[in-house]
């Protein structure tokens, strides 16, 4: 049974909003380290913890309330100048923030947060009392003369009585306790019975709203319930969608009227002109609507970027480096599903930059660089792509060393190593099992990672590229489509039948000249600019009989390999709207799309096709060229 029966929606809202808030707090903490006296920062952080506490109270998350309460109090003293920020204190605060995040993840799993470590609470209390490290001793509080009445019901102060105490009207106060005591017992407001009542009333409300409500539907708690379920959309954008659908409705009416006119034999110039106009208008409106709907899924990438400065700071500190993270283009918008899937790859790139890219302090100094280093995380839109760049001003990559390393690990052959250019050498780090760190640190360098980064980016139909200059630094450039809903495809034909392949995998198109096809190791290959590439026929991949000699080769590049896909002809390129085949999904088919002429075309999943075929995809030159094989009569 969930700890939050009946409150799932509320919990989810809270987690999304409070999660953002906490990321903001994390960021501001990193800033605070540089400008510990910044009053507006202190105020904002105070308000962050305060707001989280308020929400947590309604969820009955007592432990979260306690932790936030202590941290908030600490910031209250900091912002009023009663205490000053010290390094030791900041460490405690950062630990507290991390623990708040841990509690969020427990809440995500529908569990009431477990208490913070007693050590952390202790430290916070020490910091509060000013006795942590060399913090200033707290100013003694002036004694309070005003008395307030004791609480009778345990659910907040009796306002009337307070009011009376303050204004002096009807001071009908019998039993009084000093304010100081009430203050210490602030947390009593989140007493069990009150909280219990909230839960009960919340459950009661929900069950009465939904007759027959039997608790959360099965399976909802597993997996990725917190993801994808909801999205915050600017109402202006929704209004735009509404407006456009309204206008499309009107245009549809116009078309209906014109249709009856035409069916009734009215086909003069004016009518046809009106039809032309209406169709053009519909065309415009529909593409506007598509854009508007897509926009509802777009979120500023800043939400994702926010959490990185903290990660970079913690890591840099543990490595004894002085790294500042610079964020650029946080307002760039990107599809929400991509934001979630980009989180881990970017973390990895940042860790990589701080750990491997940035030199150790002494190395930097002896290279004549300034001690402080910068890792920049930048996002921007370039045409129909989003570009995300993670760059550092570290030592840069050494192509020779990379090749030697790959050779040593047996990932490439001598011959391959000798023919590699700089860019290909950089790309070696994306090979599974490649790691340049001589010793495996707990940060990065486990040998899994960069290959996963690339695989994840490619899953989003994106690509990743490396630019690096020795001594100057390295940039990882991620390029992503604006949305996953529309996939630019190349239409290739086998006989008369077109198939769509993702354009992101296509590097170039070349004619297949029989004299350039060579047999190497029992398989057909072609040499493209010095690179030996295997030729794979689309027919073999699909298990179709090959009926003629393929005319064209499409140079395809995927994470694992580059190869030439041999096809008969092309039908052009299109922006395909992908329809997934949920119930019936043949292997190697990513989905279907409808062409402008109404024809239905399968979108091929090359990776799956390649992995599924095993040795069948290896074809000899003779097979490719249909030499010595009777050509089946074309159907």
């Amino acid at each position: 049974m969930s700890d939050f029966a009946g409150m799932e929606d509320l919990l989810q809202d809270f987690l999304i909003e409070a999660g953002d808030l906490l990321s903001g707090v994390d960021n501001k903490l990193v800033d605070l380290e540089r400008t510990p006296q910044d009053l507006s920062l202190l105020n904002e952080i105070f308000r962050g913890f305060h707001t989280i506490k308020g929400g947590a109270g309604f969820l009955n998350a007592t432990e979260l309330v306690t932790l936030c309460h202590l941290t908030e109090n600490l910031f209250d003293k900091l912002r009023t100048g009663e205490l000053v920020v010290k390094a030791e204190m900041l460490d405690v605060i950062l630990a507290a923030t991390a623990d708040v995040r841990r509690m969020f993840s427990e809440l995500e799993r529908d569990l009431q947060p477990t208490p913070a470590e007693s050590n952390l609470i202790e430290q916070l209390k020490l910091a509060l009392s000013g006795s942590l490290g060399a913090a200033k001793a707290p100013v003694a509080k002036p004694s309070v003369a005003i008395v307030v009445p004791a609480e009778s019901k345990g659910n907040g102060p009796d306002w009337d009585a307070y009011y009376a105490a303050v204004t002096g009207e009807v001071p009908a106060v019998s039993a009084s306790v000093p304010v100081a005591v009430a203050e210490e017992e602030e947390e009593a407001h989140i007493s069990d019975d009150v909280a219990d009542h909230i839960v009960k009333s919340a459950v009661g409300r929900r069950t009465s709203d939904k007759p027959g409500y039997q608790g959360p539907p099965g399976g909802r708690r597993d997996g990725e319930r917190q993801r994808d379920n909801s999205i915050r959309v600017d109402t202006a954008r929704l209004d735009q969608v509404l407006n456009l659908s309204g206008e499309i409705g009107l245009t549809k009416n116009r078309l209906n009227a014109l249709r009856s006119d035409i069916l009734n034999g009215k086909n003069d110039t004016d009518t046809l002109h009106a039809l032309d106009l209406a169709v053009s208008q519909l065309d415009l409106l529909v593409s506007d609507l598509q854009n508007a709907v897509m926009k509802t899924r777009m979120q500023p990438i800043g939400r994702l970027f926010q959490k990185y400065p903290r990660i970079a700071r913690d890591l840099a500190r543990s490595l004894g480096k002085d790294v500042e993270m610079v964020l650029v283009g946080e307002e760039t918008e990107i599809d929400k599903t991509m934001i979630e899937d980009l989180s881990d790859p970017i973390i990895h790139l940042i860790r990589n930059a701080v750990d491997h890219g940035i030199e150790a302090q002494n190395e930097r100094l002896s290279a004549g660089k300034r001690e402080k280093s910068y890792v920049t995380l930048e996002a921007r839109q370039e045409g129909d792509h989003i570009v995300i760049i993670v760059s550092d001003d570290g030592r840069g990559m050494n192509p020779e060393r990379l090749r030697a390393r790959a050779l040593e690990k047996g990932l490439i052959s001598d011959e391959e190593a000798n023919t590699m250019d700089e860019r290909q050498s950089f790309n070696l780090i994306f090979l599974p099992g490649f790691s340049t760190a001589a010793t495996v640190s707990d940060v990065s360098g486990r040998g899994v990672g960069m290959d996963v980064v690339r695989t994840n980016i490619q899953k989003l139909n994106g690509s990743i590229d490396i630019r690096s200059e020795q001594g100057k630094g390295t940039s990882f450039v991620i390029s992503l489509p604006l949305t996953l809903a529309i996939l630019p495809v190349l239409l290739v034909c086998l006989g008369e039948q077109p198939f769509a392949v993702p354009l992101s995998m296509v590097r170039e198109i070349l004619p297949i000249e029989p004299k350039e096809v060579q047999e190497l190791g029992g398989r057909a290959t072609m040499v493209v600019r010095g690179e030996v590439l295997p030729v794979v026929t689309l027919a073999a991949l699909l298990g179709w009989p090959q009926e003629r000699v393929p005319e064209y080769g499409v140079l395809m590049q995927s994470a694992e390999q580059s190869f030439i896909l041999a096809i008969d002809s092309f039908a052009g390129r299109e922006d395909a709207v992908i329809k997934s085949l949920d119930d019936f999904r043949p292997k190697g088919v990513a989905g279907v799309t409808t062409l402008s002429n109404g024809q239905i075309v399968l979108i091929l999943d090359m990776k799956e096709l390649l992995s599924g075929m095993g040795d069948q995809r290896v074809i000899t030159r003779a097979q490719l060229m249909l030499e010595g094989i009777a050509v089946p009569a074309a159907a």
Binding site: E17, R47, G54, G55, F58, G156, W159, E183, H189, I198
Partner: protein, 129 residues
Amino acid sequence: MSDPKMKFLVVDDFSTMRRIVRNLLKELGYTNVDEAEDGVVAMQKLNSGGIDFVVTDWNMPNMTGIELLRAIRASAPLAHLPVLMITAEAKKENIIEAAQAGASGYIVKPFTAATLSEKLGKIFEKMGK
């Protein structure tokens, strides 16, 4: 004596909290609720009229709840409006400050529909006098 059609303005920068308050009000039968994310937005909505009751958080960016309260009391057309302050604090300074600024009531988070109902009841009672 309280009109279920009366229009509430819930002011809080944390949308989850606005939703909580909105739900609690709904539970008490008040469905006519507008929201504002801080004091500045609240003042705009108040000035355009139609609001009968203000429920506001204390701690907000741009314009805090107490500043909003003072602005309401200082504005002739709005001065009569009941204002219920919500806060996580039960600190005496805050309570005194709210009282002196002219708050109609003060409620501490977290609270139940019953508590809210009781506070509203007291305010209506005072207004009816």
